[in-house]
Subunit: 138 residues, 2 copies
DNA sequence: TATTTATATACGCACTTTCGTATATTCGGC
DNA sequence: GCCGAATATACGAAAGTGCGTATATAAATA
């Protein structure tokens, strides 16, 4: 049933945080990675989980994959995303995520960010796992 | 997190159907059993799951256990139960459950049903697994 | 074309969930 | 106190989930 599948997507904190951020704006994986401060593989896996169940869409833009909430989510998903927004308003974790996103994008739309390069210096450098790990091996 | 725990409760069909019915009225296990047509142990297990997470309350009334939605569900649970009601309005399974409940109680409150005996003849007889299984063994 | 960057997938392990079988508990009536 | 009805709990198997390590792919660029 559609509703069950939606709730299965919602019962993980990382996925809730991703959906909260995507409700603000479409984002690439490295944006999510740097805001959530989770390893890339974890973010990708959760995005794959969401995509398999129709909770997000994915489009390639040059080297970046842009994830977004579906244009026509259907009534159940729509209702639950609204409900999620209500529930999340008072929660410090979700608020902080939104603040970081605002800081990262400075209010500019994703398209513009992509033109400038998706994740400039500080973003990649701020990842929780050492970036360019392969490059450091001789 | 509270929200996650709520969504974990919502991501099973049997539990959704139970919550849908409890949103109409407090009910005893045998009511749920006969409406859902699931084995007793399955219903009890899901009720235990819900109770552990504060999604339902339980009170004994003579030999019956009465389950109900909590009096003060808190904002997240309240929002999600409302959202669930929205999502469920158009679904035939949930509608049928409500119709069966209406038929079973004929609009009378649970208290009155309990006075008369919780689950009179036809209800227990309609269970999917043979009732009184132990009694049939010599 | 070789390398780097961004991202996805494969695989394995620990943990959780679902559900069935069997057994225990609790209450009311005899 | 015994029995039956209503309900709960224990336990084990099968499936699903979360996550880490390692590897693959795809685009950009030197």
């Amino acid at each position: 049933m559609r509703l069950i599948s939606i709730y299965k997507c919602l019962c993980d904190e990382t996925r809730l945080r991703i959906l909260n951020l995507l409700s603000v704006s479409p984002l690439c994986v490295c944006h999510l990675q740097s805001i959530l401060r989770k390893p890339q593989v974890k973010v990708s896996q959760h995005l794959a989980f969401l995509k398999e169940r129709g909770m997000v869409t994915r489009t390639r833009h040059q080297q970046w994959m842009i994830y977004a909430l579906p244009a026509s989510p259907g009534p159940e998903l729509d209702a639950n995303l609204r409900c999620l927004q209500d529930c999340v308003q008072s929660d410090p974790v979700f608020q902080a995520d939104r603040a970081k996103l605002q800081e990262l994008t400075a209010g500019r739309p994703v398209a513009m960010l992509l033109e400038e390069g998706c994740c400039p210096g500080p973003v990649s450098a701020a990842l929780p796992h050492a970036p360019n790990l392969n490059a450091q091996r001789p």
